[in-house]
Amino acid sequence: MTDPSAAIEDLFRREWASLIAMLARRFGPSHLDLAEDVVQEALERAMSAWRLGLPTHPKAWIVQTAKRCAIDRLRHLQRADRLTEAALDVALANLSPEEDASNQLAMMFSLCDEDLGGETHVTLILRFLCGFGPREIAHAFIVDTATIDRRLHRGKERLRALGTLADVSDSAVIARRLPSVLCALYLMFNEGYQGSDHEQPIHPALCRYALHLAELLLDDAAISRPEIHALAALFCLHAARLSTRLDDHGVFLRLAEQDRTRWDQQLISRGVLHLSQSAAGDQMTRWHLEAAIAAEHALAPSLAETNWSRIVALYEELRRESPSPVVEIGYAMAVAELRGVAAGRAALDQLDPSRQLARYPFFWAARAELEVRAGNPAAARELYTQARALARNSAERDAYDRQLELLGA
């Protein structure tokens, strides 16, 4: 039997996203607060009533309860009439999977409004389409809850000003908003991937939901694009390695230390399929390049048998397409594998550590690793100490401690 508690969490999150999107579309995004309250109340009632046993039809139970809560609240606002009740009845009884998906897509494109920043986009998506609470979002992004509340407030204000949800059948709307939508999903996935910590079950969930939402975009013929397949491929190929990134003590393992036999072959196949579908257009985006790099890693039988020359070539294109310090570090490490430690060090030495990079622990860890390979333990110790000071969670900190221990520090 499947674990009923995991099924309840799944159901709660799904109904949260589905009902909020439906209510926001029907009553307008200015009533997002109302939608949120209604669904919160319905789920609280479910929590209370289900403690001593599940109802026969859990989904229908939530939908019916949400409808009653909605009507109660509309009555209170003196906005309920027979028409509204009938409309809610129809909307809830006949909510087809297609309509549900279309409601959620309208929400996603509305939340990624140009006037709001990327972090706010992610916060809003996590809240309304994935059902994360403000405290959980704050925890994942290591900011305080007040910051998340402010972002949610700003987002709701903006939607209120807009008056209606985005029209996802309008190709101009899709073209304008899609880049922000994809960036938001990428940010969300990345946080799940980099922030992995065994005390933080929320992180794998971030990766799972980013992939789920990317595939929701792909299921809509008007929205689907090769570059979304590339993004989905990237998510699958990275997620396939997720469970092997930490050892039994929750410490980060480097690529060389990961147990390749435990990589998720199903996800790798799904990623490869998305990658082949991403080749349909003539556009080469950063998602294509990053997915191609991830595929090289995921399909290589061992670290030594990895096609480093192809990876370096892909990184060179990525440096032109989408330059960033993170890309430079990946490039330098690949160069070190292909052309030797000295070439890798030279590439890292070209980076300016005074700016953004200085606060990025992986920059110091990458330099440390190359110093170890070059046979300079003293320099490596110093660099790992700097990385450790910048570590953002215990999994990262413990990984650097382990390296320091190996170096006899």
């Binding site: 309840i8 969490e9 403690r51």
Partner: protein, 115 residues
């Protein structure tokens, strides 16, 4: 084996708002608790209660809406179990997950007909 009834009061996390995952985790904690009681032979049988209802009062059969108790005093369900003694039943009640959300459990001995 003597029977006892747990009367659960208070069932909402007010004023803390729980996320969907936290609410699901709370339901899960109740199932785990009931499973543990069942495995230990305490034969738990629960009845959850909806929030609303009516009250019928006195010889005049006066019907009123409600119960209108404070959320923390509202009976939200009960469960009958078997235990060797009141003390054991109280120990078992301490495992109730509702306590973590500020609820309470009243432990009552079921009156026995045979003496």
């Amino acid at each position: 084996m003597p029977r006892f009834v747990f009367v659960f009061r208070g069932d909402s996390a007010d004023p803390v708002t729980l996320s969907p995952a936290e609410m699901a985790a709370h339901v899960r904690a109740w199932y785990t608790w009931a499973d543990r009681l069942r495995a230990a032979g305490h034969d738990p049988n629960g009845i959850p209660l909806e929030r609303g209802g009516r009250t019928v009062r006195g010889a005049g059969r006066l019907v009123t809406d409600g119960p209108y108790a404070e959320a923390k005093d509202l009976v939200s369900g009960n469960m009958s179990i078997t235990a060797a003694s009141l003390d054991e039943a109280v120990e078992l009640a301490k495992g109730c997950p509702g306590l973590d959300l500020g609820g309470s459990v009243e432990v009552r001995h079921v009156a026995e007909h045979d003496v």
